[in-house]
Symmetry: C2
Subunit: 382 residues, 2 copies
């Protein structure tokens, strides 16, 4: 039995002091219901919420969201996998449908982060790393990815300019995306001269914390065909873990869980990396996007720098990547990101992406949790 996406919704990402968490969740939910042929909230029998709870004063988010959306007494709970919480919630929904236990499921990814101060956020994020052996010594997320970047530079000659090119591309496309946090183009010079964060990463190598929410409605094959003329099928789902403590990882030139999760997803979908025509990858830092090209098999290990230099990840290139702006320009409201990625791929495969349209029948999402302790890769097909 196939599982399809029949509705999508995407709120504005950014500083959203105008909305509570439940209000953020409501915006894309309402749009997704309309998009799914105007079904009712009563047609949905499971609400799968993806979020990283520690950022919010309100605990038990699915409880408050379900009430606000008028979804009681439907089943709901929270799925969490750090920055990949949204994709984990999609995987949970996929299993719920595939098992025959649910027919129509709403997945909401939501996060509100900008009410916290930068030191609060840094401390919270650090604690997604190993508390016993790492964060206690002051490790931060930019610090972790900086280690990966320096090693990648050392091993393969990757340059700061190539990393900046990722930012340039993603801001280029973000400028075309009305839901993105940043809708301005940037130049390589601007990136390279931006404030240093952790060598070799500058501010423009890092994505921004944001508030935001996205929603998709998923259904079993029968319902999907009834609800939508163009259901987008989920053809492959991969999920893997890697060592929490990065010092126990085998190397610093890629994310092992990405390799494993993508292998599973490609196998289930019966495709090869080169069959992917549009991809959303986890560019929390520019180096992360370069490593993703390699770990997902879009190019060989070590050639990520050249891939962007040759514009292979632009529209018209070999594999267009993050043509909605990515985490970099859209902003990264942790729990919302995986669902946002899927909403974009569905839009692309339906041919509704306007100025950012790629001609594609097969799309991929790649969502990393923490520093790769989780990875979820999904393959979508028109």
């Amino acid at each position: 039995m196939k599982v399809g996406v029949v509705g999508i919704g995407h709120g504005k990402f950014g500083r959203r002091s105008d909305a509570t968490v439940q209000e953020l969740a409501c915006e894309p939910f309402r749009d997704a219901l309309m998009d799914a042929g105007g079904i009712s909230r009563n047609d949905i029998d499971f609400l799968s919420v993806g979020s990283s709870p520690e950022y919010h004063k309100q605990r038990s988010l699915p409880g408050v969201i379900a009430e606000y959306l008028g979804m009681n007494p439907q089943s709901t709970w929270l799925t969490e996998a750090a920055c990949a919480s949204g994709s984990a919630a999609i995987r949970t929904a996929y299993m719920a449908i595939k098992s025959g236990m649910h027919e129509i499921v709403a997945v909401i990814g939501v996060q509100k982060m900008t009410e916290l101060t930068t030191p609060e956020i840094l401390a919270l994020m650090g604690r997604v790393g190993d508390v016993q052996w790492e964060s206690i010594f002051g490790t931060t997320f930019p610090g972790y990815y900086a280690m990966y970047a320096t090693r990648h530079m050392y091993e393969f000659g990757t340059t700061k300019e190539q990393m900046a090119m990722v930012a340039v591309k993603n801001h280029h496309y973000g400028a075309l995306n009305p839901q993105a946090m940043f809708q301005k183009e940037v130049t390589i010079e601007r990136c390279l001269s931006s404030e240093k964060v952790a060598y070799p990463l500058n501010v423009f190598d890092c994505c921004a914390n944001a508030d935001g929410a996205a929603c998709i409605i998923m259904a079993n094959e029968k319902k999907a065909k009834k609800l939508n003329d163009t259901p987008i099928w989920i053809d492959g789902v991969g999920s893997a873990s890697a060592q929490m403590s990065v010092l126990r990882r085998p190397h610093f030139i890629g994310i092992p869980s990405t390799v494993e999760a993508s292998k599973q997803a490609y196998k289930q979908a019966g495709i090869k990396p080169e069959d992917v025509q549009v991809a959303e990858v986890h560019d929390c830092f520019t180096i992360a996007e370069l490593m993703a090209y390699e770990d997902l098999g879009f190019c060989k290990k070590g050639e990520g720098g050249k891939f962007i230099e040759n514009k292979q990840s632009y529209i018209g290139g070999k594999t267009p990547v993050n043509v909605d702006g990515g985490l970099k320009a859209k902003g990264h409201p942790v729990g919302a990101t995986g669902v946002s990625m899927t909403a974009e791929i569905v839009k692309q495969l339906r041919g509704q992406a306007g100025k950012r349209q790629v001609n594609a029948e097969i799309g991929l999402t790649h969502n990393v949790g923490g520093i790769g302790q989780y990875c979820f890769v999904h393959i979508y097909r028109r």
Copy 2:
């Protein structure tokens, strides 16, 4: 395709300053592997972790647990539904197997709470209630359940003595459970004269925060039969939600999500409430156990007080309840509780419960999240 439980493990609940969260998780995991015919951790293809994350300094618990147990690169993530996180993780595992995506799944429920101070815990717990309209005015969990208790007393003449009888029963059985936090009998007089918390609840009407972990290994029908002579089958799973804000609830004499979730579970299992021969119910407060008797259909609405007075929930009574001590005497390490309940029911149905043994073929677990914004009911059969 049926889903069975083939291995169980249960650590000591209580003040566990001797162990980190990952060490707590390891104890029952190791025992569950041995119990499941000595399978290897490599036989497990998904690690479903149930926990309520805000209590821990270490975020991203499944990441640190998977590494510590040597489970990389297997799939893992966190499932959360407040005090019902363990049961939500079991439901996730059930779907994972039922969907055909995984064959053998380990579910670990784990929580470490005693490192926090009482004011910290009270504030954290309050935030599981509605932050916008309730906890901001100082609502606490004992306060919520005190409202239910007074209304139940008013409507049905339920007495403080009847509530104390729940504590007496559960401490009676807890005294026979070496894994329980409290292993001492108590008297009605002792309960009634214990310190007041929120009228009409005294200290002995409330369960205790604890550290602890439990683990079950679940498998599909084929694998289950191979791994275990007496797999315990999961015949029904129910899941429902109720209003987050209790002031929007229809009444204060029961938990609507319990009624809905149990209805689903009974229907799937093809049984009636009177067919349940042993049950684990969510006795976070003594009034909660009385309401559970009624909401689960063990007796009529309003007759919960008489049910305990007539010892119908003792071994030898109509429906023995919480004969392992319940949350009341075992302690309530939030995320571990649902998995602990299942471990006990499996033990009972296998006939391995020693002095606490009930003669039973059908068992039930009832796990409430928050003040009933979530409820999960599972039916198990030998």
